[in-house]
């Protein structure tokens, strides 16, 4: 009998470049917000009021709707002690859960290993983007990275290939060149296996765009295309449980008001379209999306933008999420700041632990490297 059980899926969206917490979830009732943000603030008529303290910005109206429907958790004050304010170091810490040393294994690499200990499904973890983020890197854990779903494959979009027939012939030759050979030596044999796996993975994932149809019209920008690719792979039922994608730049040192508005309009519309698409296919229940950035930005603006800060905000979104506020917005009082920045009051590893434990059903301790306070958003 076919099982009706569906495996939980985690979609990770990284906001690259350090998203400005204060102008994403705006503490509009706090006079210190207006004092510190004389130039780079969200004007009162642009606020979407959540309660008597906080508000969304108007360009994230799709997120406000998700929040009002009770499907979005806002996790306040997230970060870690001694926040380095360096994009590279901070992102490394988020990816490896190693704040005190240089980590090699990614936390999601460990998640994928625990979800599929035999490494049987090369599509258990799928990155939508170029290369592989360190979060997904772990020796012996195969992960598929797709930059552009429609053209993904061995010898794809090759300028010398004129027709589908030629493509088929070349792929056939590729398969034969990578076939097992007696006495080829371990390195050649390993490469042969890798080549055959690459062909197999591409063959499997090719069905995703072929079988997909939807009434949702995603916008024509990178994050919308990436999330549509996530939807396509998810809906194809290939067993993928971890998706990763990133979008940026959120590094708004200069001219923040314009660029931050544009990027949040794109991101919030893409997230909303993504969940609408899944719901249309009755496939939203098994998906939770987590949204994070490496750190927040400085409390006081620099005239046109904001510099690197510390505490940030993260979101968990999905039909199975217990929406609402989690944790406490860090104080803006001068004495409570950490070198001019919001002081983190919630360790990001607790956020990860909640998702690993309560959503994916895994033991979070080896994944994040210890016991951290979990929340009840899922």
């Amino acid at each position: 009998m076919a099982s009706t059980h569906k495996d939980p899926v985690l979609v990770v969206l990284e906001l690259t470049g350090a998203n400005d917490y204060l102008n994403t979830i705006v503490p509009y009732a706090d006079p210190l917000y207006w004092d510190n943000r004389p130039k780079v603030n969200i004007a009162e008529d642009q606020l979407l009021i959540i309660d008597d303290e906080l508000a969304f910005r108007s360009d994230t109206e799709p997120l406000k709707e998700i929040y009002d429907a009770g499907k979005m958790a806002i996790i306040h004050g997230i970060g870690f002690d001694n926040s380095p304010r360096s994009h590279f170091r901070a992102m490394d810490i988020w990816h490896t859960c190693e704040p005190d040393s240089i980590g090699i294994n990614g936390w999601l690499g460990k998640v994928i290993r625990d979800l599929d200990p035999g490494g049987e499904n090369v599509l258990k973890g799928v990155n939508l983007g170029q290369g592989l983020p360190r979060a997904l890197t772990m020796r012996g854990v195969p992960v598929t990275s797709v930059n552009h779903l429609p053209t993904y494959g061995v010898l794809s979009s090759n300028p010398g290939i004129a027709s589908d027939q030629e493509q088929v012939q070349l792929l056939d030759s590729f398969a034969k060149m990578y076939a097992p050979a007696i006495g080829a030596g371990p390195a050649m044999e390993y490469l042969g296996q890798a080549g055959r796996d690459a062909l197999r993975g591409a063959d499997i994932i090719r069905v995703a765009p072929e079988t997909y149809s939807s009434n949702v019209e995603y916008a024509n920008n990178t994050i919308a295309r990436r999330l549509r690719d996530v939807a396509q792979v998810h809906l194809a039922g290939l067993g993928t449980q971890v998706f990763y994608t990133s979008h940026g730049p959120f590094d708004t040192h200069y001219d923040q008001l314009g660029s931050h508005t544009k990027i949040w309009m794109e991101v919030s519309a893409a997230i909303s379209d993504f969940f609408t698409d899944l719901r249309e296919h009755n496939a939203a229940g098994e998906v939770v999306m987590m949204v994070f950035s490496e750190f927040g930005r400085r409390v006081r603006d620099n005239g046109t933008g904001t510099d690197h800060g510390a505490a940030g905000v993260a979101f968990a979104i999905g039909d199975r999420v217990n929406g609402g506020m989690y944790g406490t917005y860090p104080s803006l009082k001068p004495g409570d700041l950490s070198q001019g920045d919001l002081a983190p009051n919630y360790d990001f590893r607790g956020f990860y632990s909640t998702l690993a434990d309560k959503w994916l059903g895994l033991d979070p301790v080896p994944i994040v490297g210890g016991n951290f306070e979990q929340m009840s958003f899922v």
Binding site: S86, F88, G103, R139, P159, E166, L191, A194
Partner: protein, 471 residues
């Protein structure tokens, strides 16, 4: 030795001591004789350096490049366009061995200066290089020696100096690490201006006598009031150091070996070769140029063809060099640098102080697809002048009487792209494509187009082959 054999050997040398050469350059080099070419490679100063002034005028972002991938692109530009291939290759060797990463240093201009230091000191003695390394601001910050104080030592640099940069696990005690760290107290950087919000600054090495622990230390059986340079002197005279460096050189230049973390339990695959390099170290008092001379002129090197999986930089730079692409100033170096990272070798940002895992560990299915697609897209692109030149050469080479046999085409393609050696299975697939419509001719434009298309397919398949993944 037949000329063909000389070209094959020269191609091998240039894949290892450089990033490969287009066919015409190989022929030019081969005519000078192998040992003379080795000497020229070992003495980069006899060929002109890249004109930095001109480079920075054409690419202003390269000077003190402050952010990835521009700093990486600057290096890729040099790898492709240098007239001193071994100078860039040895810099990559030291970058792999003394892996320093922007993920923590967060100061790309300082990392670029460290690479420049490798070019300058990379052929001298190991002792001098280690002293410069200990003074490298990026290294000091990377391994926390700026936090190593008299009375409050930080062992990070001391430990990695012994474990990863010279002796290797099993050749020192924990006490030696502590004593080495004490000797390097006061070796720090200036200025320590906070980088945010003011941006990045060049750092300078600073020796602070007041923060240096000048008391007596006992290190590897030697006792004295050692400073950092004394420690390096002792290290450089240890047999374990000679052996450690020999294994690293062998792994990088000769043949794939297991990762360094297993060396204390895994013997080298060619102990005689390692001994030869150790002897060269001892005889030359650790002169790297002398050791490399022995290495490149040895039989074990000459016979180790295609015994290493190319690192991404070798695959990418080697492929564009083969078709003469990206020679000079043009857009696209950022993408080549990014491609290196996407294939698993983000230059100036290695994953940890242990450097990249090499050999088969470069490859997984996703990375292999990237490597294959990257090389095949270039070799299959008949709009690139260098590809047209290869095709022309193949046709000229194989031409006897206005017609080309399939065997002759496949042989000419493999020869022009290497010469490369391939397995029977690969050759059979290349032949199958070459034989599809019988012999080739180009009496009409239509025939010529078909012929070019067929040769292009064969070049594409060679670039996609397993054999092409090896250097």
């Amino acid at each position: 030795m037949a000329l063909q054999e000389e070209i094959g050997l020269m191609a091998h040398l240039m894949r290892r001591a450089g990033f490969g050469d287009p066919r015409e350059e190989l022929e030019e080099r081969a005519s000078k004789g192998y040992e003379a070419v080795v000497e020229e490679l070992l003495h980069p100063e006899c060929r002109p350096a890249i004109d930095d002034e001109l480079l920075y005028r054409m690419f202003p972002g390269y000077e003190g490049a402050a952010a990835p991938p521009i700093n990486q692109a600057e290096w890729v530009y040099r790898m492709i366009n240098t007239k001193r291939p071994l100078e860039e290759k040895i810099a990559l060797f030291w970058h792999q061995l003394f892996a320093t990463s922007n993920s923590k240093v967060d100061n790309p201009p300082e990392l670029t200066r460290q690479i420049a230091m490798f070019r300058e000191y990379g052929f001298g003695t190991y002792r001098d290089l280690l002293v410069e390394l200990a003074k490298s601001p990026a290294m000091i910050f990377w391994l926390d020696n700026h936090g190593n104080h008299d009375g409050a030592i930080n062992e990070n640099w001391g430990r990695e100096l012994l474990e990863l940069f010279s002796l290797g696990v099993g050749n020192y005690a924990e006490d030696d690490i502590r004593e080495a760290a004490r000797a390097f107290t006061g070796w720090t950087i200036a200025p320590k201006i906070p980088r945010n919000p003011l941006g990045r600054f060049y750092w300078e090495f600073e020796y602070k006598p007041e923060d240096h622990d000048d008391r007596e230390k006992t290190f590897l059986g030697h006792t004295g009031n050692f400073d950092g340079e004394d420690i390096v002197d002792i290290i450089a005279n240890q047999p374990a150091t000679a052996r450690f460096l020999a294994r690293h050189l062998y792994r990088f230049f000769v043949a794939d070996e297991p990762h360094v973390s297993s060396w204390h339990v895994t013997p080298p695959i060619d102990p005689d070769a390692i001994q030869l390099l150790v002897d060269a170290y001892d005889e030359s008092r650790g002169d790297i140029r002398s050791i490399l001379r022995v290495l490149f002129n040895s039989e074990f090197f000459k016979s180790a063809r295609f015994a290493r999986v190319k690192c991404p930089a070798e695959l990418i730079v080697g492929t564009v060099r083969m078709v003469g692409n990206y020679s000079g100033f043009m857009p696209g170096f950022n993408n080549l640098a990014l491609e290196c990272g996407w294939q698993g070798q983000e230059l100036l940002n290695p994953p940890s102080v242990e450097g990249w895992h090499t050999g088969s560990e470069w490859i997984d299915p996703g990375v292999l697809m990237r490597r294959v697609n990257f090389a095949a897209r270039i070799l299959g692109d008949t709009s690139i002048p260098g590809v047209q030149a290869i095709i022309k050469r193949v046709l000229t080479h194989g031409l006897a009487e206005g017609k080309l046999s399939p065997q002759a085409i496949v042989a000419a393609c493999l020869d022009t792209m290497g010469p490369l050696e391939v397995s029977e299975a690969t050759r059979a697939e290349l032949m199958a494509h070459a034989e599809k419509d019988g012999e080739l001719s180009w009496n009409t434009n239509e025939e010529l187009r078909a012929t070019v298309g067929k040769v292009s397919k064969i070049l594409t398949l060679i670039a996609a082959s397993r054999e092409y993944q090896f250097a």
